[in-house]
Symmetry: D4
C-alpha cells in the first residue's frame, strides 16, 4: 500500500504515522517539508528572479514534480489541515487526489469541520489524530481493529 502524506508541515504528524505503521506493508511519500528549501528551490537551482511572483512560481512548479508523482502513485492520500495558515495547497492536493479516484483520508481538528465539509465529503475517512490514521492503515491491510 502506497500512502502520500500531504498538508501541514509544522508538527510531527508524518513521523507519528510512519512510526506507528512500522511493520505494516506500507511505503510513504510526502512533499519536501523543509519550508525554506521548498520556497526557494526554484531560484536556487534555475537562477534568481526579481519578482516574487515568479520566484514562487519556479519553486511551486519544481515541487509539483515531486507532489504530482507522490499523489499519482498513491493508493491512499492523507491530507492534514493544521490550526494555522491558509493551507490552500493541502486542499488543492485533496481535490487533485479526489479527481484521480484516490482513497482520501482527511485529518483535522473539530474546529475546521464546517470549513472543510466539501473536502471531507470527498473522503473515505475523516480522522482527528495521527494515531487513527495508523489504525486505519492497520485495519485496511490486516483486518485488525485496535483492542
Amino acid at each position: 500500500m502506497k500512502v502520500y502524506l500531504s498538508g501541514e508541515i509544522h508538527t510531527d504528524w508524518r513521523e507519528q504515522i510512519i512510526d506507528g505503521a512500522k511493520g505494516l506493508d506500507v511505503s510513504f511519500s510526502a512533499p519536501v517539508t523543509d519550508h525554506a528549501a521548498s520556497d526557494d528551490c526554484g531560484v536556487a537551482i534555475l537562477g534568481p528572479e526579481g519578482d516574487k511572483f515568479w520566484h514562487d512560481r519556479k519553486g511551486a512548479q519544481m515541487n509539483a514534480i515531486r507532489t504530482r508523482k507522490g499523489i499519482e502513485d498513491a493508493d491512499i492520500v492523507v491530507v492534514r489541515f493544521g490550526d494555522q495558515y491558509k493551507q490552500w495547497n493541502a486542499a488543492f492536493d485533496a481535490g487533485y487526489a479526489a479527481a484521480l479516484g484516490k482513497s482520501l483520508v482527511i485529518l483535522h481538528g473539530p474546529d475546521h469541520a464546517h470549513a472543510l465539509k466539501e473536502v471531507d465529503a470527498a473522503a473515505l475517512a475523516v480522522a482527528r489524530e495521527p494515531a487513527q490514521v495508523v489504525q486505519i492503515l492497520k485495519y485496511v491491510l490486516t483486518g485488525s481493529l485496535p483492542s
Copy 2:
C-alpha cells in the same frame, strides 16, 4: 466555450464576468451561491441530522452533484479567492480541475499570491480583476485584445 465559476460567493464577481462576456459564445455554470441553501440543502431534502458533521456531509455531497458536473463539463475553470475565510472548497475545486486537465484561471488579490503559489502554478492565467477574465475569454474566443 464552457466556463465554470468556482469559489468566493460574497461579491458580484460572477455577475461582472457574465455581464462582460455578453455577446461571446460562452456558457457559464457555477455552484449554488445562496449560502443558506447551500449549507442546508441536504437536511432540507433528505431529513434532519442531530450531528452537525452529518448535516454538513449531506449538504456537501448534494452540492457535489452540481459542482462535479460543472467542473467536468467545463473547458475553463475560473476559481476566485476572496479576502476572507478559508475557502478550502475553492482550492479543492482548483485541484480537481487541474487533475482533469482543465484550463485553470485563478482570480485573487496580490495579498494571497504567496499562499496560493501552488494553485497559481497549475493555472494558465492568474488575474486580479473579473474584467481581466472577461478579456481572457474575449481573446481566447475572438483573438481580440483590449484596446
Copy 3:
C-alpha cells in the same frame, strides 16, 4: 442534466420522478421495464434456446446495449431498491456507475439500510421517496429548496 433511472420495475417510481421533474432541464433514460419483453428479447429476436441459462444470457446481453449506454451517458444515476426480490442487477448498475464516477442517488426504504450500506456509501444522496429525488434534481439545477 441526464438522469438514468435504474432498478425496481414493479411500482411507478419512475413516473413519479419524471412527472415531478416536468419543467426542469432533465432528460431521463431507463431500462426496458416491460418484464416479459426484457426477459425474452434475446430469443425473440435471435432465436430460441433450449437451455434457460443461454435464453437468459441472450436477453441480458441485449438489454445491456441499452443499459450501458444509459449509464455511460448519464450525469446522475438513480438506483431504486424495492421491498422484494434480489435486485442484483440494480446493485450491479450502482457499482458500474460508481466505477465510472457518476453521481449516484440511491432510493430505498429504511429496512434495507444495513444491507445496502456499501452501495449507499458510494452515493452522493440516499433518499426514501421519489419526491425527494425530484427535489434533489430541482435543487441541483436551480438552487431552489422545497418550501
Copy 4:
C-alpha cells in the same frame, strides 16, 4: 496474476480456492471477512455514532479503501453469491469490476441463475464450485486442463 475474491463470507470458498491454487503464480486479495470487524471498523477507529446509518457509513467507507484497491489492482475478480442474504455489495463489486474492464468470474449455485443473469452476462466465466475457479486459474496460467 492478481485475483480478488469478492462476496459471500460465511463459507470457506476463499480458502478452497487459495489452497487449490498453491503452486500457481497467483496472488489473492479479498475484503475483510471478519463480519463484526467489517461492520464496526468505522466507529471503532473514528469514534461512535448515535445513528446506525452513519455507523454503517463510516464502516462501509473504511472498507472501501481496501476493496477498491483490491478490485482495481486485480486481473480477475471472482464474485461469489451464497444461498442467503441480499449480498448487494457482491453485485456492486461485480458492476464496479465490469466497468473497469476486469475479467469477471461469477460463482453461484443453479438456483440463482435467473436472478443473476445480468451479472453473469458481464462475466467471462460462470462457475458453480470453487474447484472450477481453481481449474480456470490453472488453465489460464498454464494451459493445462483437468484430467
Copy 5:
C-alpha cells in the same frame, strides 16, 4: 443512438438495416464502400507510389481517418462477415471496438460460427440476418419486440 456498420461491402446489408430502421432515432456511419475508391484514395490524392505496399498503406491510412471516427463515435458497432474473402479489416474493427468498450453486434452466417468464436464472444449479440439487427435497434430504443 449512433451505429457504425463495419465489414462486408459486396451485398446490400447496410441498406437493409438503414431502411429497416427508418423512423428510429438512429444515425448510421460506415466506411467508404466504393471498393475502387477505397483502394486508391491514398495515391489519387497524395500522389502515386511505385510499390503496391505503400500504395495500399496510403489508402488504408486515409480510410482510417474515417473508420476510426466512425467507431469512436458509435454507441453500437455492427460488424458483418460475408461468405468470401479474408475480411481481416472487419475483425480488426471488431477488436478495436471491443477495446473501446463499444456494444458489438456481429452479423454472419452459421458456417463462420467456429472461426468467429473469439469475435462473437466479445459481442452483445450475434445475428444472422440484417433484419435481426433492425429488430435489435428497435428493441433497444423502444422496448418493442417483433410481433
Copy 6:
C-alpha cells in the same frame, strides 16, 4: 467533422482549406494567427513583465487555453510546417495530438521530409498542398475522389 489547423501563420493555407471545404460538414478551429496579438496577449491583459521570458510565458499560457481546446475537440489535426522558422510549437502540437489519438495530417514541402520523419510517421496522411487537405476532407466525408 472537427478540424484544427495548427502551425505556420505567414501564408494563407488556412483560408485555402476553409474555402475549399465549403459545403462540407466541417467546422474549423485554429490558434490566434495575429502574430503580435499572440505574442503580447498575456501582458496586454494581465499586466507587463520586465523579463521577456515571463512576458512570453504569460502569452504562451493564455494561447494554450485556446489551442488545447482546439486540439482536444478535433477529430483531425492538420499541422503545417512552412519554409522558415523553428516552428517548434507546430511540432509540439503534433505530438500533443498524437498522444491523444487524433487523426494527424501533416502538410509540408519536400525539403522538410527528412527532418519531419518522426512527425510524419505519426500521421495518417502527409500532404504537400492545402488543396490535398481539402481533397482528404472531401473523401473522408463523402467518399468522392478528385476527378
Copy 7:
C-alpha cells in the same frame, strides 16, 4: 519489455522469436497454443454444452481471460498471420491492441499484403520472418543493428 505473441499456432514462429531473443530483457506471453485445449477449455471446466455455439462461447471467453491480460500488459504486440485459415482472432487481437495504443508488429508473407493493408497500416513494423522480429527487439532494446 513485455511482448505478446498473437496469431497463428501451427508453426514454431513463437519458439524462433523466444529463442532468438535469449539474453535480451524481454518477457513473452501468448495465448494457449494447444488447439484442442483451447477449443474445449470452457466445457472441460464448466460443463458440457449441447449446442456447439455455446461450447465455443464458453471456451472463447475463458481464453479471453488470458489473451486480454497478455495484450493489456504488453508493450509490443506481435501478430502473425499464416497461410491458412481465417485467423479472425488474430486480426481481432490486432485491432484490440491498436485501440489500446500498443506498439504493433505484424508478421506475414507477401501474399497477404493487400488483404492485411488496414492491419498493417496500424502497425509500427511489418515483418516477413520471425528473425526480423528478433532483430527489431534487439534494436529497440540495445540500439544494435544486425551486422
Copy 8:
C-alpha cells in the same frame, strides 16, 4: 523515479546527467542516439526502400517503439534543444509527453527562449545546463538543494 532523456544527440548532455545522478534512485531511458543506426534501422531490418520517404518512415516507426515506451513509462521527460537543426522530433516528444501529463523539464540555451515559449510553457522547469537537471532530480528525490 523514471526519467526519459529526449532530444539533441550531438553533445554529451545525457552522460552528464546520468553521471551527475549517480547514487540517486533514478533510472534513465533515451532514444537510440547512434545517428546512422537510427536513420537506417527500418531498412536494415525490414528490407531496403527505393524511395527515401519510406526509408525514413520505416526507421521512424521502428524508433517509435522505443521512444513511445520511454515516454509513457517516464515520470519526468527531459527534452534538450541544441543550437542546430530543426529538432522537430524533440518538440514532438515534448508535446506527446505534455498530453500524457508527464512532468516536463526543458533544457536549452537562452537564444531559443522565444522560439520555445509554447514548449517551455508546458514545462515544470526550464534549465540551461545539464547540471541543473541533476540538481532538480536531487532536490525532487531528496529535498536537498545545491550548497
